[in-house]
Subunit: 685 residues, 2 copies
């Protein structure tokens, strides 16, 4: 009837007419407005809070009278007294419609609320977790109508929440009967809503209305570190974050050495599986303690990792990943139970592992794709996740390509003479003075430059211990900018370069960054061998990206996203001087932080994102660098700094690189030494 | 085209025209003829053997020429040489149609073959197991099209067998890669075809064509014994059967004492759960050894049991089953994994537990219903499974009712002065001489009667140790027939009865069956207290049946099926004299043997039977004897032998029961003593 009051919800704008006396929650449900409720409108949970607006809303064409909603009732008064209701708020299940009204649903009352992400350009995370809470009132048992307690609980879920065919894990059956009786047949259940492989399942049960929440873990399982976010599945908030070293490191620093370990040792893969699961369990205990959360309340977990870690976590021997054609045991997403992986969270917590893209492009790359969403991008986007292997994605709405490239550990400070991991005391920023050609630098844990006053005191506690990945990149780039290194990668002599920091070091020259020997510290230098290592690493990275550009049929990209903790610390300008990444406007080179971890969090908080990334991964065109002849060509060209053939026009408009050449005859270009690290992978091809 | 050859399959009668050169297997598949194949028509498995018929088939209107099928080919020749092909047999995948032909599919070549059951009146078992074998050829991995081995295996299952969305258990992923390579990308997989709760799953994988089979267990978990059949899931054959005592007996002989144990001891239920699972695992090891079967090949198991055992096996405290309203934790069928129950068969073997009918009518009664199928019966059928509790079903196509009745352990020889379990040495048959009124008997383990010549020698090894359940029933019935016991259940004196075997025994009389004291053996007697025990047990049984008859609105049943091992040994005539079962023609009282075990076997071999019994159980009308006032009335009436009010016309036409009465005043009827055992259940009502 058109004389019924008009109810308008904001921000959705949904509107409809409802008979006087209709509860706001009922109106919202009928209109499909996203208004939360755990107790099903019984005035217990307060999740359905709304903010009615009064007065004239010309935009909506209504005037809301002060009596547009029913008066504040006893349930609301009790709730307000007990827990406090914000000014102007009403409980949607108690307040009834009496006249035309505009009702705002605040973000925290929306089921599918948006979870805040720090980066403005990043995709939204809409909350839609795998496990939700439901309050139900269960029929008591009756000898004349014998049925199991579970069957009556299922009936309640069906009738009160339209949840059909809900099953229960065995441990729920084992604990359910006393809980039902303690709650006088009113209980709150946590229900996993099911997926392609599994029916919906009751995961937990509490007597009466359960005030608490349930949690999930987003885990980024890296070769070196395992990082996890513990998230509240009702709010999407991260309640604790923590990380540990991957205990597998004792079996090999990098992935291929772990694959080798499993090849050489009959039970090697098992040992590594045990180690990583133990490490994981240690981390979970730690994060639960930090978040002050009972581990039994952790009911869902999402894992992202590279293919080797993926297999080792699952207890699959990574043997095949060590040799062509690099066949994964499975590339699809995995849906498991926590106890399948011996994880010490809720025994039947669900575990979801993102799909792998290919034998060298893992679930971590899929997670990066989920976080950065190149398939939704209007402009052509290059996403690079820099690690021991670089995973590279190139694409836009039209298509997405992916490859991995074996950069080796140089970007992590390994295989660099003065290299070290990013830790306090490590040089992370470098500038070479254009006049004196002497370097100044900053170290991690100290905010001032090495030539600032008070530097000595400021670094007293950490010392100056080495150069980390971002430091060496800036160092080499600065050396190139200031004519200390030439394009092919040779360091000139002190004479040739005019730098007092250069000194003869065997058959080549080295550059002294810092001499701490008088204080019992190290002498930090960049050797020509270090330059070679960086050249190989950056050439691998660039040539992977370039190969994807070839396949895409483009010569330039619109923007570059650097993912990974390392990516967050790279100076775009220096990276481009080095020719690590394709030529692009500097403001279009951004960091995505730990995009793989973010992808894990998205998949944890929004189950629809799981289906989405599975579809995306299927559509991604995989490029195997190992069998692409052009990769070798790009690699050779990219060994030069920035590149032997690519023009880099934008870079050239910003920086004039000196046209020096310290090669006084013979070979000596970087190309000649390439392939040391690559050999391992090539050998088995 | 109508000029194409006509192909007629027998016994199905399906027919169709196919182009010359069509393989017989292809024709069979297109017509939906039930012709087996594991290798998918590759001439490996020989499961598709057929018998072509030649000559004139006037019934079908065709004449089959000698060249109606293609000539014997190399594949058939090789198979014949290697393993031998029966005379006249062809491989359906090799022989092609050349002219009109009649092709018989022998039983062993049918997928849904009938499994032979011993009893002619019993329902057929059609083979349709949960797990089937499939031979597939998998695409090799390709770097240019990276996909997991599992994904290519799934693709093969989809393309070659139309099996969609097949997943794999984690342990399959852990072992799959070497198997695929060992089999040169040809493998046989065992696939669980999925159910309401679970997607289809690969359970096992073998390189190449796997010659073996997979197995399932049908387990009847009783309070006293656990019995299991090990079945070949490809043929339906029972390859081994075995039983063990239920180790829970140490916690209490009967169910209620086990429930009490769990109530009195904080971890009592856990202890009993552990005990029954250990007993089960012992049995499984034993049966696997007997059948010479690798336990890892046991991929499915079906369990039937009463509600208390059901809960204890699942690890659910049976507390609620010990008190009104006898609420089950769950009444629905359970679909679990073997490792959920710590069973030592294939780690992810599927476990199916039949639904329970009510708090006192368990999955064992459901299994009896599945085996005896009262819901399919034209005539009205009473099914009684006699145990410590009797489960009773009454029904026909119209409806089925069920109840349980607490008969107590008297029928198992317990609480009887000379009673014992059915074992060698126990008296199992009794006859009283109408003239001398002296008993002669037979004992288990000896084929001759006690008054036959050579009896002493024949029982020398076993001795004569007591009376088992069927013996005591015959004994009491014989005593009633021959005027030694009156209708209310009093034993007369030697004078009153004219029997020299009767002797005064305290305030009542007893009957001497056998005196072995001179040989150091026992004195086996029937006391008036024993008569009382049997009266109570049979009254409980009869009044349960009678209550269902009331509810059904009938005064007689068409036939009676006695289920259970005990039922197989009861003499129908004696049971009816006792008034244990309703009046019926003696030839309509039959034994179904271990119908619960048979029901388990049906559910194991035919997954469709699972959905069927789940639907049947939902439709069964449950009657709770504890809250039915008429049950008490029936019980009192049924305490008399055969009954105080029921006419038993058929019985009377067969046997003239003497109208004796040894009560010389005072009470003394059986009614006065009733209820001892029942008190336990009533106390908590």
């Amino acid at each position: 009837m058109s004389s019924d009051p008009l109810v308008i919800f904001t921000p959705s704008g949904k509107r409809g007419r409802f008979p006087k006396g209709t509860p706001v929650l009922t109106a919202a449900r009928q209109l499909g407005v996203d208004l939360d409720s755990v107790c099903g409108g019984r005035g217990i949970c307060s999740k359905c809070q709304v903010s009615p607006g009064y007065g004239n809303f010309s935009k909506h064409g209504v005037t809301v009278e002060p009596d547009a909603l029913s008066e504040w009732n006893a349930v609301e008064a009790r709730y307000d007294e007990k827990r406090g209701l914000k000014e102007g708020r009403r409980l949607g299940c108690q307040a009834t419609v009496q006249g035309d009204v505009v009702i705002d649903v605040p973000p925290e009352s929306q089921v599918h609320k948006q979870v805040v992400r720090k980066r403005a350009e990043a995709r939204e995370i809409v909350l839609n977790p795998s496990v939700k809470l439901f309050y139900v009132e269960v029929t008591e048992p009756d000898m004349h109508e014998p049925s199991g307690d579970l069957e009556r609980l299922r009936k309640a879920l069906s009738e009160q929440w339209e949840l059909e065919k809900v099953t229960a894990d065995l441990h729920i059956l084992q604990m359910m009967q006393p809980v039902l009786r303690k709650g006088a047949w009113k209980v709150t259940v946590a229900v996993h809503l099911g997926d392609q492989e599994n029916a919906a399942r009751i995961m937990n049960i509490w007597p009466g209305y359960y005030e608490g929440t349930v949690y999930g873990l987003a885990v980024d399982l890296g070769s070196t570190t395992i990082a996890a976010h513990l998230c509240d599945l009702q709010t999407g908030e991260v309640v604790a974050s923590s990380g540990v070293m991957n205990p597998q490191i004792r079996f090999g620093e990098d992935l291929m050495s772990r694959v080798s370990y499993s090849m050489m040792n009959p039970k090697g893969a098992d040992e590594m599986t045990r180690a990583v699961r133990e490490g994981m369990n240690g981390l979970f205990s730690q994060i639960a303690t930090e978040g002050n959360v009972d581990k039994n309340l952790i009911v869902d977990a999402v894992f992202v990792c590279n293919p080797v870690m993926h297999h080792l976590l699952l207890g699959i021997d990574p043997f095949e990943l060590g040799q062509a054609p690099f066949a994964l045991a499975t590339s699809g997403a995995m849906r498991l139970r926590a106890d399948d992986l011996d994880l010490n969270i809720h025994p039947s917590a669900r575990v979801y592992m993102l799909p792998c893209i290919a034998g060298h492009v893992g679930a971590d790359a899929a997670a990066v794709a989920l976080s950065e969403a190149p398939e939704k991008s209007e402009d052509l986007m290059l996403v690079v996740d820099v690690g021991t292997n670089a995973e590279i994605l190139l694409g836009n709405r039209e298509k997405v390509l992916a490859c991995s490239s074996p950069t080796g550990p140089a970007f992590e400070g390994a295989q660099i003479s003065s290299g070290q991991r990013a830790a306090p005391g490590a040089i992370e920023r470098v500038e070479i003075d254009p006049e004196t050609k002497v370097a100044r630098f900053k170290v991690i844990g100290c905010d001032i430059w090495s030539d600032d006053e008070g530097f000595e005191e400021a670094v007293a506690s950490t010392g100056i211990t080495g150069i980390c990945g971002s430091g060496i990149i800036e160092m080499v780039a600065e050396m190139r900018i200031h004519g200390i290194v030439d394009a092919p990668g040779l360091i000139g002599t002190a004479e040739q370069t005019g730098s007092p920091s250069v000194f003869a070091d065997g058959r080549t020259n080295s550059y002294l960054v810092y001499d701490g020997t008088d204080k019992g510290g190290p002498k930090i230098t960049v050797t020509n061998r270090d330059i070679r290592e960086i050249q190989m690493a950056k050439a691998a990275l660039y040539s992977g990206a370039r190969l994807l550009m070839d396949k895409f049929g483009v010569d330039k990209v619109d923007r570059v996203v650097l993912a990974g903790a390392f990516g967050a610390h790279i100076s775009p300008r220096h990276a481009m001087v080095l020719g690590m990444i394709p030529d692009a406007p500097l403001d279009k080179v951004t960091s995505a932080g730990n995009a793989a971890g973010t992808g894990a969090r998205i998949a944890l908080l929004n189950t629809e994102a799981r289906a989405e990334i599975e579809a995306t991964v299927k559509a991604i065109h995989k490029v195997e660098t190992a069998v692409e002849p052009r990769f070798q060509e790009h690699f050779v060209n990219a060994s030069a700094i920035p590149n032997a053939v690519e023009p880099f026009p934008i870079l050239n408009s910003l920086v004039a690189l000196p046209d020096v050449n310290f090669n006084t005859g013979g070979s000596g270009g970087a190309g000649g030494e390439r392939g040391g690290r690559r050999r391992r992978r090539k050998a088995s091809t």
